[in-house]
């Protein structure tokens, strides 16, 4: 039986609320800000509500552009819309000063160059519009891993 292509898209806008508004604005301005949870852990990206207690979080912490890879996976064939067009690593990265890691891409170039514990640094996007993609990806810190 024949099939025909069907592409569905929903190009709406939605309000992100006060916490994410501040976060996205800080990213656009080139700053990294997280929030502190009830157990003292610092979340980046910021948690709006404490994952443990559900309490609303409003204590902000400014973080460094450097961090450490806590786990990673190798995307050997990048897919559409992913952060990089050449093979790269997905990683959970704990920024210096944060306790809870974020998901992002590391432009490691080759699978042999990255490992758990690798040190990385934010590469900002050339054009920033307020969103997690304002961080283009992370670069390996040469010689540090």
């Amino acid at each position: 039986m024949f099939t025909a292509p069907l592409v569905v898209a929903y190009p709406y806008k939605r309000t992100v609320g006060t916490l994410l508004s501040r976060f996205f604005q800080s990213l656009q301005e080139g700053r990294l800000e997280g929030t502190k949870g009830s157990d003292g852990r610092v979340y980046f990206p910021p948690a709006e509500f404490d994952p443990v207690t559900g309490r609303q979080l409003d204590e902000w912490v400014t973080l460094a552009e450097t961090g450490t890879v806590v786990t990673w996976a190798w995307q050997s064939a990048p897919q559409p819309d992913q952060p990089l067009e050449r093979p790269f690593a997905w990683a959970l990265i704990t920024l210096d000063g944060a306790d809870v890691p974020l998901l992002h891409a590391v432009d490691a170039g080759d699978i042999a160059r990255i490992r758990t514990g690798s040190r990385v640094k934010v590469r900002w996007a050339d054009e920033r519009s307020g969103g997690i993609r304002d961080i283009a990806c992370f670069d390996l810190l040469e010689g540090a891993s």
């Binding site: 569905v8 994410l20 996976a73 050997s76």
Partner: protein
Amino acid sequence: MARRDVAIVATAQRPNEVGSTLTSVELILPVINDVIAKVGIERQKIGFWCHGSCDYMSGQPFSFVAAVDAIGAWPPIVESHVEGDGALALYEAWVKIQTGECDVALVFSNGKTTSGPIDRILNLQADPYMVTPLWPGFDSLAALQARACLDAGVLSEADMAEVAARSYRDALNNPIAYAKENVTAEQLLARPYTTAPLRAHDCGVPVDGANAIILAAGDAARSLAERPAWIRGIDHRIDTQRLGARSMTESSSAAIAAAKAGVGDDRIDIAELHAPYTHQEILLRRAMNLGEGTHVNPSGGALVSNPAMAAGLARFAEAAESVFSGSADRVLAHCTSGPMLQQNLVCVMEGE
């Protein structure tokens, strides 16, 4: 309020396939007719119909409404839909029977997983601001979890390959399983990485499938089946959607759900675990404390046929059938949902 005794009394599953061009209705209709014929019940006696599926997969908003054509809405019926796996619809039906509003319910699910890029579509289940805009895919997220487990020494790549080899070999005895192969772990380890540290055999095979189950309470169950699979405990728990805030090396929600469902109260003969990735089966076995005496996924599990939104209910069907046949007395059925074992539903069933 005393809990009502509820059992699975019949199941039906269609053979899993790839590249189906059937509509959802065409996919569902045969399993509905099949499961009703197995118990010989009049359709009007079914007090509740509950459907699990995902509109994103068919690319049609409200496609589940069209699916009602497969069950017939005249004379009027009481029905509901869960945007998720059919196992979650089974949970809803179990609650409905607990309220006393009906004695017999029919649960069904379908997943046309191969009509779109499922790894990409499932991204829409993730955090819409922090994760979805990066489009990581579920295989990549599972690979991050697997690496953390490997780093922590919780498991090895050989352990993962053993899970796959056992599943592929067990599937040889399952006529509706899609992927099957007489293969050893050693042979699998020689194959290349797809999303390192995962190889192709570590990831469940996306397929198209559909299934249906009839639940009944008390005497109604005894009149419909020779040996009903009685639900002794059922519980559903969810970990935080923040991937970084979760433990990568254990599944706390699965452990809580298993404890609440009474998994540890007695021996489990057969456990049908919905583990779309090899390392996740190992994490689930650990979280539920399943020992050597438990045969895990004799059907081959979701690794050999993973019809998204139907693979969890398929675990219930497989576990219940082993009670019907008398090959097992106390069984476990499990369903997961979301990236990295985010949600876990655990059910313990027994024969009388």
